[in-house]
């Protein structure tokens, strides 16, 4: 039964204040409020709903309707710690209720068993902080299943011989195949690979009061107008609100976690839309602000007791940034694929998930997917074959010929954790609120570039086998922009080499928890959101158990 929406006063000491309403924050809000706790979610972006979404790509992309705004929130970039960072857009994340899950592609692979134990298997890799996770795939499996059934994932269990074990099939069949998927499937099989229907966080059937996908074609970058994309907004946020115990408070920009004399967190300080500062009091604080803003917030929360930033005794807050490595290959075919219709990805394969490092000379692996994720303007700007004139008759003819006949193969791959790859506070540049801007320091590990080049070559072979009349891939270059914000407050058992423990509790502050992409120890093979959500479901169980045992400041009193 739907309850009236609850609101709290900042002076109300709620059980949990959650910072960020994205993939992890949404799940934690739903789980903790369902478990009887009083929860406030502070989201820096607006509370948009399906009626606010649009297919107008100019509106979305130039006005940053759903994402961080590089003008108000400038960022800086440098490759090494010796350089002075220059101001440039260096990262992207969702800035609205639902976070990046609102605009994402919705590729929803589980991580495999190897992702959690790879350091032991592969051994040390020089120049990296490559480590095993303190938890295993088996620990997360029930929560992966929970994500699939509760948030809503379409797919076909058992279709990939490389899939890790699962306790339950998908709740819905795969979405309809696209022409790109058919071409990819046939070509990949010809080459001996094992393509299968892509698991996608998009409803193939109506479910829980939400519509199935209508294949409108405006998916990556856009909010779903029909609620079929399984964002936190369309799924868990609404479940959280229905408990009557969770308030989602938008337009609240948290810039400090307050701590008391006993070294415990007392709440979160935020600017409201009018830039008035408030302290939302809480018995415990959970930061789910993403792999860039979570470490930034901890660093902004430095105090006499925590001079290097909150929960940063290890010195690792913000370090080991892993943005995943990627490459795109394009193919143009004789007949129309009309791949602009529908969601982005219908077929993938995982034959390269675990490559033989000894044989190839580099560590890593990944997955390949067949997709078309380009809007009309985006296509015209970036996806015509090299050498096509940039304007005029021939340019127009290429647009006319290629828009319906082009597909992409996207290679998703590992990033190694390198300590100097990081987010930190820029010493000079400030955001529109006067707070230090995010500074990204990043240089790809040479191994990662070798591996993704190898994968791009395989993608070209597949396009060839598929009969593409034209094919190319943009050159593999060093990354200067991050979308997958992973690893920057890593999980571990040792307080010296990690920021949070396996319960997502910071080693240094007993009532401060972190859960989002920053928690990851390794990068997986791209597609981190499924794992972030599974971690959030697991974290909610762990945090609930701690609270019910009275181990987080008397919350047992409030749990019902």
């Amino acid at each position: 039964m739907t309850q009236a929406k609850v609101t709290y006063q900042p002076s109300d000491e709620v059980d949990f204040v959650i910072i960020g309403s994205g993939a992890a924050g949404g799940v934690l809000a739903k789980e903790l409020s369902t478990n009887g706790f009083r929860v406030v979610v502070l989201e820096q972006g607006p509370y948009l709903t399906e009626a606010d979404f649009t297919h107008d790509e100019i509106e979305i992309f130039t006005k940053h309707r759903l994402t961080n705004d590089p003008k108000r929130q400038p960022t800086t970039f440098r490759q090494t710690e010796q350089e002075k960072a220059v101001q440039q857009p260096s990262l992207l994340y969702g800035r609205c209720v639902g976070g990046s899950s609102v605009h994402f592609t919705a590729n929803f692979w589980r991580f495999h068993e190897i992702d959690f134990i790879e350091r032991s298997k592969v051994g040390e890799i020089p120049g990296t902080g490559f480590a095993d996770w303190p938890i295993t795939y088996a620990d997360l499996e029930p929560y992966y299943t929970k994500v699939e059934w509760e948030v809503g994932v379409s797919g076909l269990a058992g279709a990939s011989p490389f899939d890790p074990p699962r306790s339950k099939p998908y709740p819905m069949p795969p979405l309809p195949v696209k022409s790109s998927g058919v071409l990819f499937e046939r070509a990949a099989r010809k080459l001996g690979y094992h393509p299968f229907p892509a698991p996608m966080a998009i409803l193939s059937q109506p479910r829980a009061g939400r519509s199935a996908c209508v294949n409108c074609g405006f998916c990556l970058g856009f909010g779903c107008e029909v609620g079929a994309k399984s964002s936190s907004l369309a799924s868990v946020i609404r479940m959280a609100e229905r408990t009557g115990r969770c308030e989602i408070r938008p337009n609240c920009y948290v810039h400090r976690i307050e701590t008391g004399k006993n070294g415990r967190a007392t709440g979160a300080v935020y600017f409201d839309a009018q830039r008035n500062a408030h302290l939302q009091k809480a018995k415990a604080v959970i930061v789910c602000a993403n792999g860039a803003e979570t470490p930034r917030l901890l660093l902004l929360s430095a105090s006499n007791a925590f001079p290097n930033g909150l929960a940063n005794s290890s010195g690792l807050v913000g370090k080991y940034l892993m943005p995943n490595t990627g490459a795109i290959a394009y193919g143009v075919f004789d007949e129309p694929l009309n791949d602009y219709k529908g969601y982005a990805v219908s077929r993938i394969f995982h034959d390269f998930y675990e490559l033989d490092a000894k044989k190839l000379g580099f560590y890593g692996g990944g997955g390949l997917d067949a997709r078309f994720d380009l809007t009309p303007v985006g296509f015209a700007m970036s996806a015509l074959p090299p050498g096509t004139p940039r304007w005029g008759k021939e340019f127009k003819k290429a647009l006319q010929q290629n828009f319906t006949r082009t597909m992409e193969i996207f290679c998703h791959a590992t990033s190694l954790p390198v300590a100097t790859n990081s987010f930190s506070l820029d010493p000079d540049v400030k955001d529109a609120w006067g707070l230090p801007a995010l500074r990204m320091t990043f240089k790809d590990h040479p191994n990662d570039l070798k591996m993704v080049s190898w994968m791009a070559d395989r993608a070209m072979e597949i396009l060839d086998a598929a009969g593409a009349k034209t094919k190319w891939h943009p050159p593999i270059t060093e990354q200067r922009f991050a979308v997958h914000l992973l690893g920057t407050c890593r999980m571990g058992n040792d307080a010296k080499s990690s920021v949070i423990n396996p319960d997502h509790r910071t080693h240094d502050v007993p009532n401060l928890f972190l859960c989002d992409g920053s928690s990851l120890v390794t990068s997986g093979r791209g597609q981190p959101t499924m794992t972030i959500e599974a971690l959030a479901y697991r974290a909610a169980d762990r945090i609930t158990a701690l609270a019910k045992r009275g181990e987080i400041a008397g919350q047992a009193n409030h749990a019902t």
Binding site: P176, R189, G192, N338, K341, G342, G378, F379, F481
Partner: protein
């Protein structure tokens, strides 16, 4: 301008029996939402008059955008109302680009006169002359971005900027005020409907459904 919105029309066709009843039942809430968005798009009328551009500037911009996307047997920038889109852009999301346009247009007119004495304005040159002038202007600038991120257009030079704005006015959803009568989508072959059902294209129309790899394929 009175137009029948094709998205709306296609939507009604679907309801009329082009798709199976079961499909409609399953998709109904979504289709309803999509139709509402289509309606909003149809209501976004192009502005009646220029708000930022002077008539002289508008003529030059129409000439440049028509060079970028010419009119042939299919519509070009002119038919899509790109100049109106750019006028609106310079008032809204690209307001900061006004000086770039002012300097760019001045440069272009000056270069046209230098290259072809007697020509005082770019738009007065022949199509062949215009191509040469615009090519020279492009070559004189250094920054070309071909990335997917439109945010990176913030620092673009004039040829890159107007190319982006012309493409946006030609190809973005008409909700934003360009792509009049879906002129751009006619060229690239994008059906303006707001919902689709499979098969989508040539290669998936005879797809038999997903099957595990056969032993024969496996042996290869």
């Amino acid at each position: 301008m009175a137009t029948v919105n094709p998205a709306r029309r296609d939507f009604l066709l679907h309801i009329g029996g082009a798709a199976g009843a079961a499909w409609i039942t399953a998709q109904w809430p979504g289709m309803l939402a999509a139709a509402q968005h289509a309606h909003a798009a149809a209501s976004a009328n192009p502005p009646a008059a220029f708000e930022v551009l002077s008539p002289e500037q508008a003529i030059e911009i129409e000439a440049i955008s028509s060079l970028i996307i010419p009119t042939d047997e299919l519509p070009g920038a002119r038919e899509a109302g790109v100049v109106y889109f750019i006028d609106r852009a310079l008032k809204t999301f690209a307001a900061e680009a006004k000086p770039v346009y002012e300097h760019g247009l001045a440069d272009l007119n000056r270069m046209a006169g230098e290259m072809f004495p007697g020509i005082v304005r770019f738009s007065a040159a022949t199509p062949e002359q215009q191509e040469k002038v615009f090519t020279k202007l492009e070559e004189s600038q250094s920054r070309h971005s071909s990335g997917r991120r439109m945010a990176s257009m913030l620092n673009a030079d004039f040829p890159e900027m107007i190319r982006f704005h012309a493409l946006a006015g030609f190809l973005a959803d008409p909700e934003g005020g360009g792509n009049r009568d879906y002129a751009g989508w006619k060229v690239i072959g994008r059906d303006p409907a707001h919902s689709f059902s499979p098969p989508f294209g040539f290669y998936d129309k005879d797809y038999p459904g997903w099957q595990p790899a056969s032993a024969e394929t496996e042996s290869k």
